[in-house]
C-alpha cells in the first residue's frame, strides 16, 4: 500500500477513535463549542487528505458532514438530537469507509448520495426526523471497485481489458490503484535522475505531462482508468527522440522501474504484469525508432519515460534521497537493478537506536562523575587517559545523535504533490521551490513539524497566491512561487515558507478580529500592522472569502502555532500586502538533548527547557523588581508592563519549609503566544540534559514533559511550559509575540554606554560612560593629604580623591583604578576596586535607590547592578564643584530661576535634576512633551525650558515648534538636550526653534548655557 495512504489511514483511525467518546459527549452536552470544534477538525483533516488521495466517497461524506458542523460551530444551526444523530451517522459512514480502505487498499463502491442529501438538507436546517440507520454498504463488486479516481467512471470496461488474475480483481486494484502507480513513478524518477546515463535525456520536457502520460499508460495497462485525459503522448515524444533515447537507455530505465516496484513491495504476480506492460511500451518505442515513424500510441510510451525522469529530477533534488549513481558501465540490466547504494546503508530498528542513546547518556554521566572526582586532585596518572575518554565519549555521543538525524526533505516529500493538487483544483499556476532539503534534524522533531508545514504550504497556495489573471493584472508573472527553505542556525533549524502572492490583507484581518471579538475598534487602532497580523494565529480565524476544498475554515494557524510551540519552536509572520508573505519557523534540532535551566522550589530541583525561557529576574527590594499582588495574584512589573506570575510551589503543591525563604527569582517563560513568570526559590546553571520520557504511571501529570538525570546523578523532572500555562488556567497572559517585541523596541530608545566596576561589597556598580572623562590607575603610595582629604598629583595639578560609599579604605600600597571626572581645568578621582566592563545597555529601572548616591538598580548581563548618582559624589566635593559656573554673574540670580526639564529617561531625569538644583536652579522635571505642556499651562513662570529630542510621543522638535507658535512661550529660552550632536542634528534643532543645542553628557556646557540663557536679556538665537 502507498505510504501516504497508509499514513492517512493511521491518522484517520486515530482521529475517529478519539471522536468516539467525544461524539457520545456531544449528545450529553450539545452546546459545547470545544467538542464541536474537535469533531470538526477531525472531519476537516479527513476531508482534506482524502481529497488529495483521491478517495471521493470519503471526501464527499466528510465534506457534507463538515458543512453541518461548521454551521453548529458558527451558531447558525441549533444542535438538536436529530442533528447529532445525523452527524453520528456520517461519522459511522466515515468509519466504515476508512476501515474498508484499510482492508482493500481502495474505496469500496457504493452510494452515499442519500446520506449526503440529508446532510445537505441538515445544513439548511432541515433534519428529516431521526437519523435512519446507515444504509448497508454495497459489497464491492470486483470489477466495479476499480473506480478509484472518479466515482462516476466505473471501470467495467477497463476491468475487462485488464489482465485478470485469480481473485477476479485487476492488478490495478490489487496494488492499490493510482496512488501506487504514482508512487512507482516517483521512485523511478528519482533513480533515473541519479543515473548519469539517463539524466540528460530526461532532463528536458514538462514534468506534469510526462508524469501524467506514464501514469495513464500504466493504469490502462493494469486495468484501471486513465487518471487524467488531458495528457497525450504525442506532446512529449519528439523531445525524447531528439534527446537521443535509445534501446540501452530504455533498458536502463526499465531497470529503475524494476527497482521501484521492488521498493514498493509490489507482489510478484503484479510486478510481472507491470513489467510486461512496460516492456510492451519498449517494444513500441524501439519499433518506432527503427521505422523512424511514430505511431501515436508508441510515442506516448516514450514520453512517458521522459516525464518520469523529469519528476525524478525534482524529487531527487528536493529530498536528497541517497541513490548511488551507477557508473558509466555498459547497460546491463542486472547491474542496474542492484543499486550499489544498498550496501551502504541498512535499516536499524528504532528501539535499538533508543537503547544506544540510553547507554551513551549513561556513559556521559559516568564520564562526568569521573571528571568531577579527578578535578579535585592535582595531576594524576589518570589525566591523560581521562582526557581521551572524554573526547571519545563526546564523539560517540555525537555519532549516536547523528543516527537520529534525518534530512528535512523527508517531511517535504508530500508537498510537491499537494501543491500540484492545489494548482489543479484552484486553477492557479504555482511553482514550488524548495532548498535546503538536506538540512538534518532529529526524526522526532521531523515528525512533529510535518503537519504544520503541510498546512502552511497549503495555505500559501490557497490564500496567499492569486489566480493567473489576478497576478497578470497586478503586474506579476503568471506563475506564483512558494519558496520553502531550511537552514541551520546555531542549535536551531530555520524553515522559511514564503510566497509572492497578495500578502495578508491587514485591513480585513483587523475587521475580522473586531468582528470576532478578538479586539476592540479602539484597541485595534493602536496596533501596528505586524501586531494585527498576529490575529491569524488565534483560534477560529480565517479570511478566505469562499470556502475551498484546499484549506480554509479557520482550522489551522492556531493549531500550527501550538504544535510548533510544543517542540520548543516559534513561528513569525512577515507580510507585505501585494508582495507576499513569509513565515519563519524556528525549531530546535533535537528534542532528545536540550539546554535546560535548573531551578529549585521548596527543596526540589526541576529543569525548564531553555527554549521557553526568555529571561531571568531576581526580585528584591534593592534590584528594583518586586513581586506585587493584585487580589492574591502575583504580578511583576517588567519594562512597563505587568507579567503574570505563577508560583511553582503552589502549582506543584510543594510545602516549603520555613528556612527556604521566599520565591525570589522569576523565570520569564514564553509558550506560544503566552508570556508568564515562574516564581522559584533558586536558579542554578543551565545544563545540557537528555530528555527521557516519564513512566506511564506519571504520564497524566501534564506539568512534566519528561525527566532527566543531571551531571551529579540525580533525577529531576522537566517542567512543561505548556502544562504550566494550562494548569494556571490563565488566558489573561496571552499576548502576541510582536506585542512583546514592540514593547521591547519602544524602550530601546535610550541605550547608554555604562562603565561597570566593583567597589566594596555587593552588586557591581555603574556610571554612564559619558560622565567619566578618563580611567587612570594610581599608585596609592603617591596619595597625599591636602585640604582635609586625600589627593594625588595628576597632570601637574592636585586631584582630590573620593571613595564610593561603603568601599574599603584607600590603603597606602599597591595600585587602584580611578575614574576621573573633569571640569575644565579641574579633575576629581573616584577610587574603585576593579573595572569590570563597558556595556551598551538600555537604562530602565523603576525604583529609585534607597541609599544616597544610588539612582536605582538594573539588570546588566543577568546581574543586578547599582547605577550610581554621579551628582551625589561630585557634590560631596565641596558642594559647588559642578554648580560653579563660569559666569559668575549668574550665580546670584540663579536661585530665582525656574527650569522646566523634559526628559523621558528616568536615568537622565534623576541625574540632571540634582545637578541643576545643586547649581541653584529650581527644577520641575516632566517625562514627556505632553506632560510638559500641561505643566506649562498651569504654571507659566519658567525662565528656561530644557528638552530632550528623542522621546516617545511628541518629539522634542515638535514640542519646540509648538512652543514657538504659542504667544506665551515664543520667547522663552529653549535648550535642546540630546545624545545626537552632529551638525545636522543641531541645525534641525535650531530650525525647530531651539535656542541652543547641547550634548547630553556635556554638563558644564549646560550649566554655562543656562546661566547665559536665564539672563533677563532673552535673546540667544
Amino acid at each position: 500500500m502507498d505510504d501516504l495512504l497508509a499514513e492517512f489511514l493511521t491518522e484517520a483511525t486515530e482521529g475517529i477513535e478519539l471522536l468516539d467518546t467525544e461524539l457520545v459527549d456531544l449528545e450529553q452536552r450539545p452546546d459545547d463549542p470545544a467538542l464541536i470544534g474537535n469533531i470538526f477538525r477531525v472531519l476537516h483533516t479527513i476531508k482534506g487528505t482524502s481529497g488529495f488521495l483521491d478517495l471521493p466517497r470519503l471526501e464527499s461524506v466528510a465534506h457534507a458532514g463538515e458543512n453541518v458542523l461548521g454551521k453548529f460551530r458558527d451558531g447558525e444551526l441549533e444542535v438538536t438530537p436529530d442533528a447529532v444523530g445525523l452527524i453520528l451517522e456520517a461519522m459511522d459512514r466515515v468509519k466504515d469507509l476508512v476501515s474498508s480502505i484499510g482492508e482493500m487498499g481502495h474505496e469500496p463502491a457504493g452510494d452515499d448520495s442519500d446520506l449526503i442529501g440529508r446532510l445537505d438538507a441538515g445544513m439548511r436546517g432541515e433534519f428529516g426526523g431521526a437519523a435512519t440507520a446507515p444504509e448497508p454498504e454495497a459489497a464491492p463488486e470486483p470489477e466495479a471497485a476499480a473506480s478509484e479516481e472518479h466515482e462516476e467512471a466505473v471501470a467495467s470496461e477497463a476491468g475487462e481489458e485488464a489482465p485478470v488474475v485469480d481473485d477476479g480483481r485487476s492488478t490495478y486494484e490489487r496494488i492499490g490503484g493510482l496512488s501506487t502507480i504514482d508512487a512507482i513513478c516517483d521512485v523511478m524518477y528519482r533513480h533515473v535522475m541519479a543515473d548519469e546515463r539517463l539524466s540528460d535525456i530526461y532532463a528536458a520536457g514538462d514534468v506534469d505531462i510526462i508524469h501524467g502520460v506514464f501514469q495513464n499508460y500504466l493504469c490502462e495497462a493494469t486495468g484501471g482508468n486513465k487518471s487524467d485525459d488531458s495528457y497525450t503522448l504525442t506532446d512529449a515524444h519528439a523531445e525524447l527522440r531528439e534527446a537521443g533515447m535509445k534501446d540501452k537507455h530504455f533498458d536502463a530505465t526499465f531497470a529503475h522501474f524494476s527497482v521501484a516496484m521492488a521498493e514498493l513491495e509490489i507482489p510478484g504476480q503484479d510486478m510481472a504484469v507491470l513489467a510486461d506492460a512496460f516492456d510492451k511500451a519498449r517494444g513500441q518505442v524501439l519499433a518506432q525508432e527503427s521505422v523512424g515513424e511514430v505511431p501515436a500510441d508508441e510515442a506516448e510510451v516514450t514520453e512517458v519515460d521522459g516525464e518520469i525522469v523529469e519528476d525524478a529530477a525534482e524529487v531527487a533534488a528536493e529530498t536528497a534521497v541517497e541513490v548511488a549513481p551507477t557508473e558509466d558501465a555498459p547497460a546491463e540490466k542486472e547491474a542496474k537493478i542492484t543499486p550499489t547504494s544498498i550496501a551502504q546503508s541498512l535499516r536499524v530498528n528504532v528501539d535499538v537506536l533508543e537503547n544506544l542513546m540510553t547507554v551513551v547518556s549513561e556513559l556521559v554521566l559516568t564520564r562526568n562523575q569521573l571528571m568531577q572526582i579527578l578535578r579535585e586532585r592535582n595531576k594524576t596518572e589518570f589525566d591523560a587517559p581521562l582526557q581521551r575518554l572524554n573526547q571519545v565519549t563526546s564523539e560517540l555521543q555525537e555519532s549516536v545523535m547523528q543516527t537520529r538525524m534525518q534530512p528535512i526533505g523527508n517531511a517535504w516529500n508530500k508537498l510537491p504533490r499537494i501543491v500540484r493538487d492545489i494548482s489543479h483544483e484552484l486553477n492557479k499556476k504555482i511553482e514550488l521551490d524548495m532548498s535546503g532539503a538536506e538540512t538534518e534534524l532529529d526524526r522526532q522533531v521531523l515528525d512533529q513539524i510535518k503537519d504544520p508545514l503541510t498546512h502552511m504550504v497549503r495555505n500559501s497556495g490557497d490564500h496567499g497566491l492569486e489566480t493567473p489573471e489576478e497576478r497578470l493584472a497586478a503586474g506579476k508573472p503568471e506563475t506564483g512561487k512558494i519558496k520553502l527553505s531550511a537552514s541551520h542556525e546555531g542549535g536551531h533549524i530555520i524553515i522559511v515558507i514564503a510566497d509572492d502572492g497578495k500578502g495578508i490583507p491587514v485591513g480585513k484581518i483587523k475587521a475580522k478580529a473586531i468582528a470576532n471579538g478578538l479586539t476592540t475598534t479602539a484597541d485595534a487602532e493602536n496596533l501596528t500592522d505586524q501586531q494585527i497580523l498576529q490575529f491569524i494565529f488565534k483560534p477560529g480565524f480565517s479570511t478566505a472569502e469562499k470556502v475551498t476544498n484546499v484549506s480554509g475554515r479557520g482550522v489551522g494557524m492556531d493549531v500550527v502555532r501550538t504544535n510548533i510551540a510544543k517542540i520548543g519552536g516559534t513561528v513569525d509572520l512577515h507580510s507585505v500586502e501585494g508582495e507576499g508573505s513569509r513565515f519563519t519557523i524556528k525549531i530546535p534540532l533535537t528534542l532528545a538533548i536540550v539546554q535546560a535551566l535548573i531551578v529549585q522550589s521548596g527543596g526540589d530541583r526541576f529543569a525548564i527547557p531553555q527554549t521557553a525561557v526568555t529571561e531571568l529576574v531576581r526580585t528584591s527590594e534593592s534590584s528594583g523588581y518586586q513581586i506585587e499582588r493584585v487580589n492574591n495574584t502575583a504580578v511583576l512589573r517588567l519594562r512597563n508592563r505587568l507579567l503574570p506570575l505563577v508560583s511553582l510551589r503552589e502549582l506543584l503543591e510543594i510545602d516549603a519549609k520555613e528556612d527556604q525563604g521566599e520565591e525570589s527569582y522569576v523565570v520569564v517563560a514564553r509558550f506560544g503566544s503566552y508570556a508568564f513568570g515562574i516564581m522559584v526559590d533558586q536558579v542554578f546553571d543551565t545544563e545540557e540534559i537528555v530528555v527521557k520520557p516519564v513512566a506511564r504511571a506519571l504520564r497524566d501529570l501534564a506539568l512534566f514533559s519528561g525527566n532527566t538525570i543531571l551531571g551529579d546523578g540525580s533525577v529531576v523532572m522537566i517542567l512543561d511550559p505548556n502544562g504550566i500555562v494550562m494548569a494556571s488556567g490563565n488566558d489573561a497572559v496571552e499576548q502576541s509575540d510582536s506585542e512583546l517585541e514592540a514593547r521591547g523596541d519602544g524602550n530601546q530608545a535610550e541605550t547608554s554606554s555604562l562603565l561597570l566596576f566593583r567597589s566594596g561589597e555587593g552588586a557591581p556598580k555603574a556610571f554612564p560612560l559619558e560622565l567619566v572623562a578618563r580611567i587612570e590607575e594610581i599608585d596609592l603610595s603617591g596619595v597625599e593629604t591636602a585640604n582635609g582629604g586625600p589627593v594625588i598629583q595628576y597632570r601637574e595639578g592636585l586631584m582630590p580623591l573620593a571613595l564610593i560609599d561603603g568601599a574599603a579604605p584607600l590603603g597606602s600600597e599597591g595600585r587602584r583604578p580611578v575614574l576621573v571626572f573633569s571640569d575644565l581645568d579641574r579633575s576629581l578621582g573616584l577610587v574603585v576596586d576593579e573595572i569590570v566592563d563597558i556595556v551598551d545597555h538600555r537604562i530602565e529601572f523603576e525604583s529609585q535607590g534607597n541609599a544616597p548616591g544610588i539612582l536605582g538598580s538594573t539588570i546588566i548581563e543577568g546581574q543586578a547592578t547599582d547605577l550610581l548618582d554621579a551628582g551625589h559624589y561630585l557634590k560631596s566635593f565641596g558642594g559647588d564643584w559642578l554648580s560653579r559656573s563660569k559666569s559668575d554673574g549668574a550665580a546670584g540670580d540663579a536661585a530665582k530661576r525656574r527650569i522646566l526639564l523634559v526628559e523621558d529617561s528616568p536615568f537622565f531625569r534623576n541625574l540632571l535634576t540634582p545637578l541643576l538644583q545643586s547649581a541653584g536652579y529650581d527644577v520641575c522635571a516632566t517625562e514627556n512633551a505632553d506632560q510638559a505642556l500641561v505643566v506649562l499651562e498651569e504654571q507659566p513662570e519658567f525662565d528656561v525650558i530644557v528638552s530632550d529630542i528623542e522621546m516617545p510621543g511628541m518629539s522634542g522638535l515638535e514640542f519646540a515648534t509648538k512652543l514657538r507658535s504659542s504667544e506665551a512661550w515664543k520667547d522663552t529660552p529653549l535648550l535642546a538636550l540630546s545624545s545626537h550632536d552632529t551638525q545636522q542634528d543641531i541645525d534641525r534643532g535650531i530650525e525647530a526653534g531651539f535656542d541652543e543645542y547641547i550634548a547630553k553628557a556635556d554638563h558644564s556646557a549646560l550649566i554655562d548655557v543656562l546661566s547665559r540663557s536665564a539672563n533677563p536679556v532673552k535673546n540667544a538665537a
Binding site: 503543591e653 527521557k692 513512566a695 504511571a697 506519571l698 501529570l701 538525570i709 533525577v715
Partner: protein, 151 residues
C-alpha cells in the same frame, strides 16, 4: 515429578510491615539499598519518587502505601526491589529483602477470600512455608493501577 519441575517457581522474598511477600525472581532486575529519591510533585501517593539506576530513571513505588499499611517511620531501613514492566523500570520499596526461594505448587494455595479486598487484588495466591505464609505479589496488578490510570 514432571509437573512439579514445570511449576517450580523462584521468588525473592520481601517483608512489608512484618508480612512476607514473594516477587517472581524473573521480573527482578536489581535489589538496591536505600536510594536517594527525587520527589515527584502531584504524583499519586504510592509513588515515592524516582531514582537513577545506571542511567535509567526508575519510578519508586512505596509498597506500604500501595498495600494500605502504616507509613514507614522516618529512619526505618528500606530496600528497593527493581522490576521491569513493559520496558519501564519500577522500584518497589520494601522494609527488608530475604532469601530467594524455589517453591513448587505443592505449597501453593489461593489467597483466602476473606483477605482485605485490596490485598486480594494485589496478590496471586500464597505459599505455605514452614514457619510463615508468603503472599505472591501480582506485579502487574501492583503497578497496574498506576499504569492503567495513565492509559
Amino acid at each position: 515429578m514432571s509437573s512439579e519441575t514445570i511449576e517450580l517457581c523462584e521468588y525473592v522474598t520481601v517483608v512489608i510491615d512484618g508480612q512476607s511477600f514473594g516477587v517472581p525472581v524473573l521480573l527482578v532486575q536489581d535489589v538496591l539499598r536505600e536510594q536517594p529519591l527525587t520527589h515527584i510533585p502531584l504524583a499519586p501517593a504510592e509513588i515515592a519518587g524516582s531514582l537513577n539506576l545506571r542511567g535509567r530513571v526508575v519510578t519508586a513505588i512505596d509498597l506500604r502505601t500501595r498495600l494500605g499499611v502504616e507509613r514507614r517511620v522516618d529512619d526505618a531501613p528500606s530496600m528497593n526491589v527493581v522490576v521491569e514492566q513493559d520496558g519501564e523500570l519500577y522500584s518497589l520499596i520494601v522494609d527488608a529483602v530475604g532469601d530467594v526461594l524455589a517453591l513448587t505448587m505443592e505449597t501453593y494455595e489461593p489467597s483466602p477470600v476473606t483477605l482485605d479486598p485490596l490485598w486480594l487484588d494485589l496478590t496471586a495466591g500464597l505459599h505455605r512455608l514452614d514457619d510463615d505464609l508468603m503472599l505472591i505479589l501480582d506485579i502487574r496488578q501492583v503497578l497496574g493501577e498506576a499504569v492503567a490510570e495513565a492509559a
